[in-house]
Assembly symmetry: C2
Homo-oligomer: 179 residues x 2
């Protein structure tokens, strides 16, 4: 088969076709790699989101927790410091039972998001960077929100007065009640 025609107009037509294909290919790659890059960053963020400072520790007993909460001791109680410190990682949806501390408790949220509620008061949303003081013998609970885990350091001062008194579990209704 023979091809007979105007040389420059045919070349111009083919060059235009090449350009079109190149543009389509380029956009396809930009889209593809942008999505890939975004996913890598999201993965990085989500990994950091619930990444602990300390080892995860042991699974808390279902006598005191609903869902999975892991505890690791950081400072044992002794007669010099009279202070007990540890870290709890709550998986999304996990929470403590209602409980109280004879000498009060200080919570330092180091990652994620969750809830804190004192008996008779509205549930509060708490998150990374928040510090909560819970007074002596105040009945309360804390845990992760439904969509995020929560990492918290707890500090129990004046341990000579006692450590913790456990009460009943937080019901699903209490857990989900914003008021």
């Amino acid at each position: 088969m023979k091809f007979v025609g105007n040389y420059s107009s045919k070349i111009r037509f083919l060059m235009k076709q090449i350009l079109k294909i190149q543009i389509i290919v380029a956009f396809a790659f930009i889209t593809f790699l942008s999505i890939g890059c975004k996913e890598q960053l999201n993965l990085s963020n989500s990994q950091n989101k619930t990444k602990g400072i300390f080892p995860q520790g042991g699974l808390g007993t279902s006598d005191h927790f609903t869902g999975k909460a892991y505890n690791i001791g950081l400072v044992d109680d002794d007669s010099v410091y009279n202070t007990l410190i540890g870290n709890v990682y709550f998986e999304p949806g996990a929470r403590s039972n209602w409980h109280s501390h004879p000498a009060g408790q200080i919570l330092i949220i180091t990652d994620g998001e969750g809830y804190y509620q004192e008996k008779g008061l509205p549930r509060r949303t708490i998150k990374k960077g928040n510090v909560i003081k819970c007074g002596p013998n105040v009945l309360h609970w804390h845990g992760a929100s439904k969509g995020s885990g929560m990492q918290q350091i707890y500090v129990l001062p004046n341990t000579g007065k006692g450590i913790v008194e456990w009460h009943h579990p937080v019901t699903d209704e209490e857990y989900h009640n914003k008021k």
Copy 2:
């Protein structure tokens, strides 16, 4: 000008040229976007490396610190908890003076790497996840290493006994001495 030749061989030649160009363009985009993506991830990692949980706080006085150290109070001292808690961010190379606490101190390293030394003992390297107990009236200093910042939460218990007694600066020789 006229173009006379074998139609299918010319088309095959042109198609090969298109394919070559497409491959070159594709590789160029992959390289370009991979570098961009990697840089974004590196940026994300380096930001996390010394990213604090809390606001940075105020610059510590040169009367008590060498280099730049920033302090933010988290829990004020009161008669209920008898506990003072705060966070210090040491920039690389920054450190406290020698000092002591009448009731001792607990340090919780939440990010980065640094040093801790008690008078008469070797300098220790400390890093994210470490918890250090410093006994009552023990002369000591702490700070960031030369190559990394350090984020630390400090807990001062039994504040009725006193908070801190500041001493002389840590010399460069002391700071760099591994023994």
